[in-house]
Amino acid sequence: MLRSVMDSILILAALLNLAMLATSRMAACIRTFAVQSLLLALLPVAVGFSHDAAPGVHVFAIAAGTMGLKVLLIPWILLRVLRSGEIHREVEPFIGFTASVLLGALIIVASFAFADGMPLPSRAPTDLLVPVAVATLFNGLLILVSRAKAITQVLGYLVVENGVFVFGLLLLDQTPALVELGILLDLFVGVFIMGIVVYHIRREFDHMDTHLLDALRES
């Protein structure tokens, strides 16, 4: 029963990656990310229950922290930047939406193939965990490289972090809660600063296209 819950959460998360790649509206993209984070926030609890009947407090702490931060606070900050920045609300990809989705699907297939050969420190609670983690990580990287605007870069970085988070579940009962919470704090500070930076980029240059930053290169 727990196993099937975990599997369905993971599959949904993987599909949401594709949804993010396919969305052209930035606000929708951010909301999709929030939903993905919400699903993933449930995972530590499920994994904790699969390990033993009464899991420690720290799985709940992690779930609560993830929920508060990645589901509520960070999307809220990003949406606010979006609104206050009066940004054109389109995503502006370098790679078209269809091509992105196809690439994303390829990544998911490749991760399943690849996850088998991976040496792991401990046994995964479900067979889907590792492939989905790798897929999310690389989909995040795909968003990072293929989107022009600064705010989508932030989003890509967050998706990468989600992948790492899923991966971290492998070590759930070995990692001290303090480390996990520390990672969350880092994430929050990172997004906070990026939000400010994005806002200032727009104020200075009247746009948020990072590819125009190449004017700063050394020639």
Binding site: F114, P121, L144, V145, Q174, D214, E218
Partner: protein, 701 residues
């Protein structure tokens, strides 16, 4: 040991306090310099205590990194270098108190004092570290803080170039020499504590010994300034603020010697070829260093080359000791290393003094170009006295400390001639000849420098001369007094230097008093000299009292060449004074000389110029780095400024690593042993590794 930890604490708090006070620059500078001075005194006291007590003291503390440990140990050798660092540090920090008032037109930005404190603390760490990682941390901290200090006047392109040259040179040395040496030892012993390094390489592994020694000479020799690696000294020393030059030349380059000696103490007896190799390198370093010094116009550049020369002298003494060690003559080890260490201390003192004095000249007149100076002795007599003391000491003339250490080195070399088997005796004999040549050339170089700057009449009448501020004088006088004390108290120093040889005690056991016996004549020589000094000073005072202000000489100028009405242009220039000697060595120096040809009875006005270029810089490094720069320019298109493509680079790298790992698994242990994957280890501790291992076995099952 309390002294050392206290000194480190004082330096840290001094740096922090001066950063906090950075808004008020003068206050920040003075807080930092006071801390550095106090720490210097503590280092001297601590070093002296250990040298008198003769036992190693240790300190261990918590260390946050996975590799290495915070272990300090002060034995005789460390204590001796603490003495050097402390003494030069005190002089330079007192001097800095006033140096920045209006020096060069730049006030101190708040960074000087913290960097200065960091540099001293890093040197203390280097000489006291009992752990390979801590040593490398200190070594790197020293390089980087010195880099920022050298480039302190970064408005000046020359200063930036000097600082970069230093950084590149020292890092090449570290990467190609120092780190490999430590890597080999750590791999051999399986731990980073240097206590186990001795004996890690057996006497039968001759090839390893030679390789390690060569690496050490390259790595530590770059810091010290042995000849093919010396190029950073003449680039960095002249552009650094003068107290920093004093500290660099007096103490920083000595840490290279420290590293080399430490390495030698870990290695078993080396084959004689190593000693001969070091001897040849040192010979070239000494002779060429002083020859290049002779050809310089900038006083600080000249002093930098003279530092190269002195490193050569120290290297000669070390190589004689090594020769004695490999041919089983322990008394040579004691005398040779004793002489080297004495010269390390003494060179630190008088070269520090000379750099401070040259800095005062720079401060007072605004130029370090000797050919524009002259007659400064009248305007700034105390500074002239300080330079004179330093110059006499560096030429190895009695009654100052340079004489003591050069005498010790001569003793070592001559003992080598007597005691070594005939087939080897020629080597120390040629060393003695070279040392004599170096001494003579040093005399020419320094008599030129002193007389051109301080005697005669000012060559450039447009120069205005200011007074030397009191604290700068005080800093110089501290070092000058140390030079005199180092000579008069040489008995105590010689006794202390045998305590400094404890790391080498296993081969020189029971023979450590040989050095005291060998150097005994110095005491006999210096005692009457001490009396002579006192009498001379007394006579001078009496003369001042009896006939104040009466001139001694006639109307003609000192360097007036016999003319009754000399013009300033008739004086000897520095170049013309040195040309006689330069010409004898033109086959190695290759100076460029452009002289007008005098063909008619009434020649036209002409220009004469001589330029001496550094061979290693001109022929080796300059072409090599130009070529490298051209090579790397081809990579410039990779840096196009598009973030997304940069991310692609990263993703591609990660992917390649993943794929390689997935197919061939080079980074993980074979699953058959049930060993944990390396990836599981960080941040989780031993417990998780065990669990991970169990998990891995489960999976296999």
């Amino acid at each position: 040991m309390t002294h050392v930890s206290l000194a480190l604490a004082v330096l840290a708090s001094g740096a922090a306090a001066s950063l906090l006070a950075a808004k008020r620059r003068r206050t920040g500078l003075r807080i930092g310099m006071a801390a550095a001075g106090m720490a210097g005194v503590l280092c001297v006291l601590g070093g002296w205590n250990v040298l008198r007590g003769g036992e190693t003291t240790r300190l261990a503390a918590e260390w946050p990194l996975a590799l290495g440990g915070a272990r300090l140990a002060v034995d005789g050798l460390s204590a001796w270098f603490l003495l050097v660092i402390g003494a030069v540090g005190v002089g330079a920090s007192v001097y800095s108190w006033d140096y920045f008032d209006d020096a060069d037109g730049y006030g101190p930005n708040g960074a000087y004092a913290p960097l200065f404190c960091t540099l001293i603390a890093a040197m203390v760490l280097v000489v006291c570290a009992a752990d390979a990682v801590l040593f490398l941390v200190g070594w790197e901290l020293m390089s980087v803080s010195a880099f920022f200090l050298v480039g302190f006047h970064d408005q000046d392109g020359e200063a930036r170039r000097g600082a970069w040259t230093y950084l590149v040179a020292t890092h090449l040395g570290t990467a190609l020499g120092v780190v490999p040496v430590f890597a080999v030892f750590v791999a051999r012993t399986g731990g980073t504590s240097i206590d186990g390094f001795r004996g890690a390489v057996g006497a039968s592994e001759v090839a390893w010994c030679v390789v390690l020694f060569t690496l050490g000479v390259v790595g530590f020799g770059t810091k010290a300034g042995f000849m093919p690696f010396h190029v950073w000294l003449p680039a960095a020393h002249p552009v650094a603020p003068s107290p920093v030059s004093a500290l660099m030349s007096g103490a920083v380059i000595k840490t290279g010697i420290y590293g080399l000696l430490r390495l030698v103490s870990w290695l078993p007896d080396l084959p004689a070829g190593c000693a001969v190799g070091l001897m040849i390198v040192s010979l070239v370093t000494g002779v060429m260093g002083i020859l290049y010094a002779l050809g310089q116009r900038q006083v600080k550049r000249m002093l930098a080359y003279s530092s190269v020369e002195n490193i050569g002298i120290i290297g000669l003494a070390i190589s004689v000791a090594l020769l004695g060690r490999s041919l089983n003559r322990p008394e040579l080890v004691a005398v040779g290393l004793g002489g080297a260490l004495l010269h390390v201390l003494n060179h630190g003192l008088f070269k520090g003094l000379l750099f401070l004095s040259a800095g005062a000249v720079l401060h007072d007149t605004g130029t370090g170009d000797m050919e524009r100076l002259g007659g400064l002795a009248r305007r700034t007599p105390w500074n002239a006295l300080a330079f004179l003391v330093g110059a006499v000491a560096i030429c190895g003339l009695p009654p100052l400390n340079g004489f003591v250490s050069e005498f010790a080195i001569y003793t070592g070399i001559l003992q080598g001639v007597v005691r070594l088997p005939n087939s080897y005796a020629a080597l120390p004999a040629s060393c003695a000849a070279a040392l004599a040549l170096i001494g003579g050339l040093a005399l020419v170089a320094f008599s030129k420098t002193f007389s051109v700057m301080f005697l005669g009449a000012r060559r450039d009448p447009s120069l205005t001369v200011h007074d030397t501020p009191p604290f700068m004088l005080a800093g110089m006088l501290i070092l000058a007094a140390a030079c005199v004390t180092g000579a008069l108290g040489s008995g105590a120093l010689v006794a202390a230097v045998s305590a400094a040889l404890t790391p080498f005690a296993m081969e020189a056991s029971g023979k450590t008093d040989t050095i005291a016996v060998a150097l005994e004549p110095i005491g006999r020589l210096l005692r009457p000299l001490g009396v002579l000094i006192v009498v001379t000073i007394g006579l001078l005072v009496v003369r001042r009292r009896m006939a104040p202000g009466a001139a001694v000489g006639g109307a003609g100028g000192t360097w007036g060449c016999g003319y009754a009405f000399p013009a300033r242009t008739m004086q000897y220039t520095g170049s013309s004074y040195g040309w006689k000697v330069m010409r004898c060595f033109r086959f190695v120096l290759r100076p460029l000389r452009r002289a007008p040809s005098l063909s008619t009875c009434f020649p036209m006005p002409g220009r004469l110029s001589t330029v001496t270029r550094d061979f290693a810089h001109e022929r080796v490094y300059s072409p090599m780095f130009t070529w490298l720069a051209r090579l790397f320019e081809r990579l410039l298109p990779l840096q196009h400024g598009r973030i997304q493509l940069y991310l692609v680079y990263i993703v591609a790298t990660v992917l390649i690593v993943f794929l390689v790992e997935g197919w061939t698994a080079p980074f993980s242990a074979r699953p058959r042993n049930g060993a944990a994957m390396p990836g599981a280890a960080p941040s989780t501790g031993d417990d998780s590794i065990e669990r991970g291992a169990r998990g891995g076995m489960d999976q296999d099952g």
